[in-house]
């Protein structure tokens, strides 16, 4: 676990210097929110759109795709600079390496999540029914599962030719049921102020976090190899 934290802090430190990942993710999510604002312009202005639904759906599209951008570059960067080999030469377990990457990705993705929640509120002049904090907590919960599986898939897809294209193709079917669907429901419920009643969704997201975490932990030896 200590090794994982070391790797995560190394990632975050380099990120703090260059800020290239987080700025890309942030801009990307900003543009998605903006696209939704333009796309729903007429119905939002007319007030004929179901705001909790729109907020939940567009926020999770935003979270998923900006996470994909971030998780992809967290490996692609290392691969291109040939530092991935260096990382693998470190005397740490591969599962620790996976955990480290998960932790650093989780921090970055969560920061971007919070920023997009704020920007959605700003662009749509929407206060989440006064339950903004609950929305943030659910974003954290869903992000944990999303990053646990996404980091593993990004580590897989970085070995391929068309890696930018392949990551969403490989990842989105996996997160459709495990993250996106329950999280959207949960976020909608949270805005209505009754997130605590959706036990089934919370259990399902947490359960998938456990499944993906265990698979990632056990297969890390094979993913990071060679």
């Amino acid at each position: 676990m200590r090794a994982a934290l070391t790797i995560a802090s190394k990632d975050l430190k380099t990120e703090l210097r260059s800020k290239e990942m987080i700025s890309a993710m942030f801009l990307f999510s900003l543009l998605i929110v903006l696209a939704f604002r333009f796309g729903f312009e007429e119905s939002v202005s007319a007030g004929s759109v179901d705001m909790p639904d729109l907020a939940a759906a567009s926020l999770w599209i935003c979270f998923s795709f900006s996470a994909i951008v971030g998780m992809h570059s967290s490996f692609a960067k290392e691969k291109d600079r040939e530092t991935l080999e260096g990382l693998m030469l470190c005397p740490v377990e591969r599962s620790e390496l996976y955990l480290g990457k998960v932790i650093s990705n989780m921090v970055l993705v969560f920061i971007v999540d919070v920023l997009s929640i704020a920007f959605f509120a700003l662009f749509f002049a929407y206060d989440y029914g006064g339950n903004g904090l609950a929305v943030v907590v659910i974003a954290l919960l869903g992000t944990v599962t999303l990053v646990l599986v996404g980091t593993l898939v990004a580590a897989i897809s970085v070995n391929t030719k068309a890696r930018e294209v392949l990551l969403p193709i490989l990842l989105i079917p996996l997160i459709a049921f495990s993250v996106i669907m329950p999280s959207v429901t949960l976020t909608g419920d949270a805005i209505a102020g009754m997130a605590t009643e959706s036990v089934r969704e919370i259990v399902s997201i947490a359960g998938f976090a456990v499944i993906f975490g265990v698979v990632g932990y056990l297969t890390a030896d094979y993913v990071f190899e060679g």
């Binding site: 593993l152 897989i156 391929t160 193709i169 996996l174 089934r200 698979v215």
Partner: protein, 357 residues
Amino acid sequence: MNLKLGKYWVWFAGISAALMLITVLLAVYYAPVAASSVKTANELFPSIEGSTITVAGFVADREIMNPIRYPEDPPVTAIILADFSDYRRYLDAVVAGDLEGEWWTVEPITVRGPYLPLGTNVSATGEVVATLDSSSFMLSCDSSDDVVELSSPGEAGIMTSPISQKIFYFHMPSAWVSYVGFFLTLVFGVMYLRTRNRTYDRVAASSAELGVLFATIAIVTGPVWAKEEWGVYWRWDDTKLVTTFVMWLVYIGYLMLRAAVVDHSVRARISAVYGILGFVTMPMSLLSSRIAPLIRSSHPQVIASSSGGLSMEAGITIGIAVVAFTFLFITMLIKRVEIEESEDELEELKRRVGGEE
């Protein structure tokens, strides 16, 4: 194929062809047109009082009721009793048009046409206790001494549209072998990671491809049936359809992943891991009509949890069909693995030729 099955492939092919022929004959001439004791709604309505579940054409879970309906049928109002303590009194009250009692809860729902509102959360199937008029009936759904509660959703029988029901004898076995294929992808992926034997990787890749083929067949034949039965090709509110579609996408991704890596050891390694990861979608699809109380699904539950489900004739036919498809799958798998082997041989030869020139 290392598994010594290779030279027997002709036998497998022969058996599967013979069984397929038998399946077609049985499906067309022997298997019942509908599951036993299920009639169309119009036949049923005059005499449903006192009968058990037969009124529901098929009932996929405890929450949803789906009588067989045709577009021209008048809408049906089903009145559901949540608390069934005094159904005679209740009955009188309903007939008198007084629905505002204190000692019962009623939730009337209206069912229109062949496409029925799924997830109209009425607590569904029960015993028919009264026919109110030619198009209304009443169900009880809470057990009491007076009324026997329905034991299982399977009692309703499945697949009731007379002819299109026969699609099922090919639809369900296709789905079954696709599950087998994806399971083998997982198993041989794990075996590859443990042993690094390339044969296992070849089997994993081949079975994933065949799984996608059969899943495609199942996904395409399903809507043909659904159009007849539900009135629509696809229902996004049916969990089985959506989970199967997602599973199909995952394995399409698996094949794309394999196609995007040149080095065979890297390809085998990472696709094995993705095969393990992607397998989480398989139980979701397989069990989605089983864990009905958790998620919504109107998909027919084939192997019912208690007696019922399939009639004997349908059971025999589907059994033979499943065996036939399994043999077909094994035959195709053997040939597919052989191709994978000769492809590797070709690569090797190309390298040698290229190296010398």
